[in-house]
Symmetry: C2
Subunit: 83 residues, 2 copies
Amino acid sequence: MKHLVRTSKNLGHAIRQARKAKNLTQKELASMSGVWQETISKIENGSGGTKLETVFDLIAALDLEITVTERSKGAPDGLEDIF
Amino acid sequence: MKHLVRTSKNLGHAIRQARKAKNLTQKELASMSGVWQETISKIENGSGGTKLETVFDLIAALDLEITVTERSKGAPDGLEDIF
DNA sequence: TTCGTATATGGTGCTTAGATCATATTATCA
DNA sequence: TGATAATATGATCTAAGCACCATATACGAA
């Protein structure tokens, strides 16, 4: 799955989905990533203001990756998941 | 160009390249994005700890987009730019 | 080299993220 | 339904981002 991320809410969705897909609890992800469970909860719920480093920690722990590209004006390929 | 972003330095590179590609100065990008020139300078140089919202502002102003996907273990396609 | 611009650096002050602990709320399941 | 696990909420405190102003430095052109 590919998540287009423009807002903190988008990011929260992506994180939560990836975590669930791996059958991890927030607490488990917390110990894997070094990010507190309470913080993960807030991030998954899209409460903005998160620090980049925290996101990187979660992304890495969840085996995800972030890419930055030019905005695709081309035809949508249906692979994207935007909330 | 596609930038794989795992660190603040990666992000800085992506931002700077995109800005240069559009022939914008930091000051111009600042007024377009609402992020101060001084802050842009720091971000482009990879000084970590940046807030997500700030990144979103810059990404939007530069017509870039962020996507989150599963880590590609497949064959590299040569399109990525990792620093 | 000198002028003008672009970028970096540095300080102040307000605001807030996140670590940490405690607890409330919400699933989940035998 | 009651126990147990998962998630959310809330408070405190410290570290740090960023707006903001001033200035230093690097860079390009003439």
